[in-house]
């Protein structure tokens, strides 16, 4: 799923946002949203009165409205989530993995690329440690999102921080970062974020279930395994813009093929690490050249923005 939105707003993340009272489901207090903010765009009087008119399932109407806005913001990206869930799900029975284990994977890891890498490791009879390590290296990109989201979530109650962290897919993180200025109020902001992130993970899980169910009836002649390179080509190629990406990718490809004789699919992890090192060194060299010409260095938000263009 290519996400080509600007994250310029995240560079204005409020560091002094006022901490609103904790107000989870069933305990929401409309006054919480009236805490003075240092950022523009407080809730309108209309929205405040609407929130106070009543609650549904113990959740204030304003929260429902904010969650709905979050859902609408991420909805265009959901078909990709379903398709990728289908792809992963179809691989589960093909490798003889227990269906419940496949479902558990999508609920617990919530990161398609790494889940497929584990499947590939299992196919290569790799030791468990290598399968897990490869998956965690692929998921290291979430550290970048997490760093960018730290200030965005800073005024949230701890339980919200811990819960939302699990739902931060590439797409949900980008949508959250994009709407920081629209929702300066921490209460409204967190409902907006959960309104997008939770359904996005839900459709990913639904796609996985559909793939697990449909997988066994797909004939071998369809060569369903092609979905793996196809999905990653579709996600990765549109986001390839920076020279360091090309350098990293070229080195990765060369090392993966040159090291194909390594056992347990280790050529993949060696290729990834080699590409990261080569790309980083190239980027430092390029940055030094740009600095000599007086151009700016990349911020974390810019790095997260680029990351999101090819994330899963």
């Amino acid at each position: 799923m290519s996400v080509l939105w600007s994250l310029r707003s995240v560079r204005k993340v409020p560091s002094t946002i006022a901490a609103a009272p904790s107000s989870g489901v069933g305990s929401w207090d409309p006054r919480a949203r009236l805490v003075p903010m240092t950022q523009p765009g407080p809730p309108s009087p209309e929205s405040v009165s609407a929130a106070g008119r009543g609650a549904v399932l113990g959740i204030g109407r304003q929260q429902w409205a904010d969650a709905w806005a979050g859902l609408k913001a991420i909805a265009p990206l959901m078909p990709g989530s379903v398709a990728f869930g289908l792809a992963f799900g179809a691989l589960v029975p093909a490798l003889g993995i227990n269906s419940w284990t496949g479902l558990f994977a999508s609920v617990s890891v919530v990161a398609g690329a790494s889940q497929i890498s584990i499947v590939e490791s299992l196919r290569a009879n790799a030791p468990a440690a290598i399968a897990v390590l490869t998956a965690l290296i692929i998921n290291a990109r979430f550290a970048l999102y997490s760093a960018a989201l730290g200030p965005v979530f800073s005024a949230f109650p701890l339980r919200w921080k811990l819960g939302l962290a699990h739902l931060m897919t590439d797409q949900a993180a980008v949508v959250a970062l994009q709407h920081v200025d629209t929702y300066p109020d921490p209460v409204r902001r967190r409902w907006f974020i959960v309104g997008g992130a939770l359904p996005f993970v839900a459709v990913w899980v639904v796609g996985t279930v559909a793939g697990i169910v449909a997988g066994p009836v797909i004939p071998d002649s369809w060569q369903i395994g092609f979905i793996v390179p196809l999905m990653f080509i579709a996600v990765m190629v549109p986001g390839l813009k920076r020279p360091e990406d090309m350098v990293g990718l070229a080195v990765t490809a060369a090392v993966v093929l040159a090291a194909k004789g390594l056992p347990f699919g280790l050529n993949v992890i060696v290729g990834i690490v080699s590409g990261i090192v080569a790309g980083t060194l190239f980027a430092e060299w390029a940055d030094a050249s740009r600095a000599r010409r007086g151009m700016h260095q990349q911020t974390v938000a810019e790095a997260a923005e680029h990351e999101a263009e090819g994330g899963l």
Binding site: M1, P151, G275, V300
Partner: protein
């Protein structure tokens, strides 16, 4: 059980990565530039490694040239042309289906 434990470990590790900055970082610009650059390269290199490994290799041996490579070329071409993951997926899938039907 072994596969379950692998996914469990990956899930726990991934969650710790996801929560790290949210729980600890109030100023993301504190991340050293070198680490920042390396993290930004994880996605293209990881995805590239999986593409190359699955496209050109089959159980550590070279995959015979055929529908996989041709359909991948179509998907890459459309991805570069339209800069769209959706169109790339559709074009690659259609091309692959046609090539399979054609007996390649």
């Amino acid at each position: 059980m072994r596969v379950f434990l692998i996914f469990l470990a990956a899930g726990i590790g991934t969650y710790l990565i996801r929560v790290s900055g949210i729980a600890l970082l109030s100023n993301p610009e504190k991340i050293p530039p070198r680490v920042r650059r390396a993290l930004s390269l994880v996605a293209p290199t990881a995805m590239g490694a999986i593409v190359v490994n699955s496209l050109f290799l089959d159980e550590a041996q070279w995959r015979a040239f055929g529908a996989w490579h041709l359909a991948a070329l179509v998907a890459i071409g459309v991805a570069l042309w339209r800069r769209s993951a959706g169109w790339s997926m559709v074009a690659g899938a259609v091309a692959f289906a046609l090539l399979i039907v054609a007996g390649l």
